[in-house]
Amino acid sequence: MSFRDRSNFDMKVPLTWTAGVAVIIAAVIGVALLLGDRRETLQGQAYGVTKNVVDTLSAPVSNTLATPGRWTGNVFDLARDYLLAGSQNHALREEINDLHVWQDKAIALDNENQRLRAVLGLKTDPPIPMVTAHVIADSRGPFADTRLADAGREKGIAAGNPVMSDRGLVGRVVGVGHDVSRILLLTDIASRTPVLIDRTNARAILSGDGGPNPKLAYMRGQDPVKVGDRVLTSGDGGVFPRGLPVGVVVQGLDGAWRVRLDSDSSPIDFVRILLFTDFSQIAESKDAISAPLPALSTADQADVAAKVKAMSAPAAASQAPKTGPAAANASATAKTLANALAASKTQPAPKHPPPPTPATTPPPDDDTP
């Protein structure tokens, strides 16, 4: 009897078993994908080509769908503004009165700040350039909170760039395509942001958990925070510049200190991406630190030999006991220089003379009483 001649019910068991095997194979694929993902890293290459391709492909579709969404949102905003015009007017008048006081304070503080900087000779940070972008897709689930913005590498955006709304910090760029970039929000469960409490200068890590108010973790000091404190980026680690507004401290239902984000109250469809680059974000920073020192040239060798001779001659001719600290220092410096000279002789001299380096060895006269 051929396979086709069997009744349908004879094939039920083999088909069920085959489906079971398919489930197992699919599960193995899913677990392999999980284990192979490196989402939490900040490096651009960790984001992966697949994610970049999907972002690039979904950008035009999401953009097309988002456009009527923006119009609809504007219509709802207009309706709300119309209905709440009276109360909004009252609230805005009060806010303007408060802001006048703040403006006076800001002018005085700015003036004082500039004078103090001039007195101290402080070098101020240059202004950070920024790019404005539309948000075209927004995920807000418990396991992933990201946004897709319609600006990418073509506008100079790089992985790690901070992203702000018109009110406060939103997150940072984790993936960049040609004309699209993926923003990891502060509320994402993988987000960790170094922050400080403005009032006490206490440091903490803002940890997202998929909810609207991320937690303040790893706080130091006694009573470092209270409800209503302003939270700013601390700049630690160099991922964000210092002083970006993040939000206000609130206490969650679970008793944990949380932050009500400033960016929550701003429109969702526009973001500003700061083209901020810190030293720690430079790709070749490791190479820059571990670069070998330039070899000594012939002229340098002669100079070092002269210094050794000058230091050892008075030490030998001196009648004073050689157990004093000055003599010991002079002897040690002379030994170091002699070792450096011996080491330099084993290295070939460079074809071009190296750039001048600042002298770190104190002159011998400094050590003598």
């Binding site: 398919a22 489930v23 999980l34 418990p142 396991f143």
Partner: protein, 172 residues
Amino acid sequence: MSLMQSTRPLDPWRWLGLPALACMGGAILFAIPIKVFSLQLPEPVFPMVLAFAWAVIRPSVIAPFVLVLLGLFLDLFWGGPLGLWGVSLLASYTVVLASRSIMTGQSRPMRQVWFAAATAMTMLTGFLIASILSLAVPNLLSVFWQFLATAVLYPFAHRLIERFEDADVRFR
């Protein structure tokens, strides 16, 4: 000829392909960045409808792979960890597939309860995976909202089951 027709009564494109595309469309549509009176759109897990309905309709070799692909799409589109939704959907699919004989002949409210339970299992699996991967506990309220937004999608699953459940007599 009639035997061939009865052994392959379900066109995979009709009961697997089109619903999968519809779920992708739903996910893209609900990702629109819009705020209405300061409220954002919910974010239901549309492929949960398929994870439940496909398992109830009949065992399939293609369905689990399509589910993993849909999960992968959600991970990529939502920017989450790769494999999270694939594994989560597959977990509930496996449980529903194993217990489909119990569900056969159940009333609509009872099936709705089963669907909610399967959704809860998907969310629980996602919760555990996200906790392990990020070494942090996801916000329970946020998980509950997504569960709720997904659980109300049962009418779509019911329609799919009603349409294709009797299409293959071998698995009734």
